[in-house]
Amino acid sequence: MEAVERVYREEFGRVVASLVRRFGDIDVAEDAAGEALLVALERWPVDGVPPNPGAWLTTTAARRAIDRLRRESHRDAKHQAALMITDDTAHESTGPVEDDRLRMVFTCCHPALAPEARVALTLRLLGGLTVAEVAQAFLVPETTMAQRITRAKRKIAGAGIPFRVPSAADLPARLDAVLAVVYLVFNEGYLATSGTAVRDDLTGEAIRLGRLLHRLLPEEPEVTGLLALMLLTEARRPARLDADGTLVALPEQDRGLWSRELVAEGHALVRACLALDRPGRYQVLAAIGAVHTDASTAADVDWSQVAALYGQLAALDPSPVVELNRAVAIAELDGPAVALARVEALAGPLASYHPFHAVRADLLRRLGRPAEARAAYDAALALVDNPAEERWLARRRDGLDPRRPGEER
């Protein structure tokens, strides 16, 4: 039973995408894929899992879809016509692999859909999560999520959002939207905005989508960069929380707990994408992750390289958050006073961003200004929702010693 569901989940995106191309209707494809699961649950435990479960599920689902469309003769002529269609979509060159799932991801992440709908559709149709699971992932009631997904599917059909890989000219912009969805799912899992500390179901799903995109678009350096970034972040997960679930900051993490396999895979991917010499945001973030995971101790981190990479990132994708992270690296190079001046300049745009207050607090602590550091930790604590981060910040704040001058510099 569990094995069947695992295979099904793995194959779901492929089955639905293939049926959408054939029948031109997401609802028909989704329902038929669901019926194919019921058949599989009945047959596989008896007959065994077929050698090509994806093809088996697609064939079974397609038969169900045809049966249904024949039965429902009152449905409009378009569906009837679809029965005759095998593949009428123009084949555009998408590199060596032509995969319906690639068309599907561009449909799900179309800019004409609301961002939260893109995420929901991608997880549902490509990731094979149930509507209930998607709802749970984003902490909204199932009915709300069901409505969101239904509305998005209606817009795809009604407005004529195509089931197609965008032209080469549009690809970079459209790919950005796809990568943003995957990264958002990953971040929601890695640093859940509320509730539990880490949602490994979501990080796992994001990495699975990232691997799929990388297989489908191996020559797109940002796709490789995003996968590398996620793997290098995920590699550190075992060291990220201590025994009582408190966040452990990067310098204090036990590097022996990091996943060596993921670090090695991430490093190889970083090298591969940088070799293509088309730099982008995810590649630079991955390269920063590679510098951190390259050092065998926290003291060995090459901070000048980290600072230089954040400088490159600021040039590619300027934002106050990038400047904040750059200041953290600069604190290691030029000392906390220089960094604090840079951080203070970000007070306007980042006033409600809790890492801003946390970074500021840490710099004030290191400069021997415990009263101000305490106030800054309090400001961070007032904004944070994640319990592991909250405990970490509280521990930092409570460790401040008002009588002792700065412990560093």
Binding site: A112, G160, I161, P162
Partner: protein, 122 residues
């Protein structure tokens, strides 16, 4: 082929700004819109287009009761009102959005893209 409604909305502020513009300032916009219309026709995407008079020229007719009632002014007091539109044929939303981008550039305003309910029988 599906048809799309490309709407250009105006508001009071925008209308006032336009009223201030000289003919010389308007000329490049007229020319750009005219070139866009030509392109729509050449590519076979053109169905219809038009610019509307100011919304003060609107009259509402309500014949849902026993006798038609005619009143002055737009039906709703919304901030935005339809200023002009194109109706085009496009294979899918991406094609319609590409036309809308060109139209927006030409008329120097935002364009709202809405699909028509059903594709007309060929």
């Amino acid at each position: 082929m599906p048809q799309y409604f490309l709407a250009v909305n105006h508001d009071e502020a925008g209308a006032a700004e336009m009223a201030e513009m000289t003919m010389e300032q308007m000329q490049p916009i007229f020319e750009a819109v005219s070139a866009f219309n030509d392109e729509l026709q050449e590519q076979g995407a053109w169905v219809f287009a038009g610019g509307l008079q100011d919304h003060a020229a609107t009259t509402v007719v309500d014949a849902t009761g026993d006798a038609p009632v005619v009143t002055d002014g737009p039906f709703s007091e919304s901030k935005e009102y339809l200023g002009g539109f194109w109706i085009i044929e496009a294979a899918d939303l991406d094609a319609a959005l590409a036309w809308a981008a060109k139209g927006s550039k030409a008329c120097a305003g935002k364009v709202e893209v809405r699909p028509f309910q059903a594709e007309p029988e060929a």
